[in-house]
């Protein structure tokens, strides 16, 4: 159904919000687990940190950051409309504004995180 129906910005916004929410959730569970293990065995933690430092780890981190940033911004978009329903008339505007912020804040951040991969 979802794939058959041509929704607009609102539907895409929701789909991304849901997907990013689930993705972050999965990460958080792993994250709690790894820290827990680190508490018992510092060796495990070192392995983990090495993974984070690896190129793959960094790319995944960027994805996580993107998901978090998107989810946070869209969360705020939803909140704004929840508390001021008349803003629903501008939901697409807010959504595009979110993407502007996403790029302005996200691209430099991604560059910082990814720099080491390229030895910078």
């Amino acid at each position: 159904m979802l794939l058959r129906y041509r929704g607009s910005e609102g539907m895409v916004a929701w789909a991304f919000h849901r997907i990013s929410g689930i993705a972050i959730w999965l990460f958080v569970m792993l994250h709690v687990l790894d820290i827990y293990l680190a508490g018992g065995d510092p060796g495990v933690y070192d392995d983990l940190l090495r993974f984070y430092a690896s190129p793959l780890g960094r790319v995944l981190e960027v994805l996580l950051g993107a998901a978090l940033l998107y989810h946070a911004l869209n969360g705020i978009r939803i909140l704004l409309m929840d508390f001021w329903p008349r803003l629903t008339a501008y939901h697409k505007h807010i959504w595009y504004a979110n993407w502007a912020i996403f790029i302005v804040a996200g691209v430099p951040a991604a560059i910082i995180i990814l720099k080491p991969i390229f030895g910078l």
Binding site: R18, G21, I22, I24, W25, V28, M29, V32, L33, I35, Y36, A38, G39, P42, Y45, D46, L49, R50, Y52, A53, G57, R58, E61, G65, L68, L69, A72, G75, I76, I78, L79, D82, A109, I112, I113
Partner: protein
């Protein structure tokens, strides 16, 4: 002249759990907006955790009660917000017995994660301190 007009609207007696969830998702969302983004920034731009060794987290970050409370609060918010969120998703897509099963599993996992997280943040002793 009597105009039929109300200033306030009577509220329903019981909002129920769903109302609570709705509200809580929004409040925790605001909190997370601040906490999670700070956390992510701190972890990546102030320090670079991947440059540190495991000793770092204990020696620098959790040496401070304030930072410990911060992390615990963040953890609470993330876990509750995320699990309630996943609960919504589950309830959307699963029905009947499978829903009950999935939700039970979800709550159990939630409790486990909560306990694990809290254990780490509150009870881990600083090695060598």
């Amino acid at each position: 002249m009597l105009l039929y007009s109300r200033s306030g609207r009577p509220r329903p007696q019981s909002g129920g759990f769903e109302l609570f969830v709705w509200y809580y998702m929004r409040l925790s969302g605001v909190a997370l907006f601040v906490l999670a983004l700070i956390h992510f920034s701190v972890m990546h731009f102030v320090f670079d955790p991947s440059q540190e060794k495991s000793g770092w987290i204990f020696s620098e970050r959790w040496n401070n009660v304030l930072l410990r409370s911060f992390d615990w609060l963040l953890l609470m918010m993330v876990i509750t917000h995320a699990f309630l969120g996943i609960r919504t998703v589950t309830m959307d897509y699963l029905h009947g017995g499978r829903r009950t099963l999935a939700l039970t599993a979800l709550y159990l996992v939630g409790i486990v994660v909560f306990v694990m997280g809290t254990t780490v943040v509150l009870t881990v002793q600083i090695p060598g301190a």
